[in-house]
């Protein structure tokens, strides 16, 4: 891991198009300002992990599960009973 020490107001540049600026430090909380192109996804790590894990769980359900899901949709799907 690269460790850099910065003061409030100072910036780190990552590659050519991403900057991370230290905006404020209050106790153990650090506010960062990030500037990056629109196609660069920026998340809190916990959120990224949560969605990554959900995507992992969702991959390749088998045909039987999907058939079961269709039955559930017939019973509970919006536009059917509701």
């Amino acid at each position: 891991m690269l460790v850099l020490t910065r003061k409030i107001g100072e910036t780190i540049r990552i590659a050519d198009s991403v900057t991370v600026q230290v905006l404020s430090v209050r106790g153990s909380q650090v506010s960062l300002g990030i500037v990056a192109p629109a196609d660069v996804r920026i998340f809190r790590e916990e959120l990224y992990r949560e969605i990554e894990s959900q995507n992992q769980n969702a991959q390749l359900p088998d045909a039987e599960s999907l058939a079961g899901a269709e039955e559930v949709w017939k019973e509970y799907g919006h536009g059917k009973q509701r």
Partner: protein, 159 residues
């Protein structure tokens, strides 16, 4: 950490009229027309290497479709129009359009469905729907923060 996609070369999308051959053990062998390919410039979250996907019909009348990776044809997700599965769902077309840089009329939105062993426990990812610019077929998995949306919203309400 998710591996960086750097250094992974994605073959260029072929020009008009061309097709891409898909060979999948699960889904068989077929050709996909260029205009059917969805391009995810940064992949799905946690799957940075797959950039090109295609939507396959599951069967007529089914609310489910397959989102199949062209770059890894053994990777697929069940997806659906969320309005089929979640009552009162309002697709966030405005933020999606803003993210994609298009007008809301050019946005298609669907959700990834997680189907566990007991399908009554299936969930949809409302926090991170897939949004597509229907003009260019550029697609992204959009993350909606701070709206109380769940990545695993149950389809069958808890009774």
């Amino acid at each position: 950490m998710a591996s960086s996609a750097e250094g992974v070369s994605t073959p260029p999308v072929p020009s008009a009229g061309e097709t891409v051959a898909v060979r999948s053990r699960r889904f068989g062998s077929f050709d996909v027309a260029r205009e059917q390919i969805l391009e995810f410039p940064s992949g799905l979250i946690g799957f940075p290497r797959g950039r090109r996907y295609v939507i396959l019909e599951h069967r007529p009348g089914s609310p489910f479709k397959w989102l199949l990776s062209i770059d890894d044809p053994e990777l697929a997700f069940a997806v659906a129009d969320p309005s089929e599965l979640v009552a009162g769902y309002e697709p966030p077309l405005e933020p999606a359009a803003k993210l994609l840089g298009v007008v809301p009329a050019d946005v298609a939105l669907f959700v990834i469905v997680t189907i566990p062993r007991d399908p009554k426990n299936m969930t949809v990812n409302l926090m991170a729907p897939v949004v597509v610019d229907t003009q260019t077929r550029k697609a992204r998995q959009m993350v909606i923060e701070d709206q109380g949306l769940s990545p695993c919203h149950p389809v069958v309400p808890a009774s």
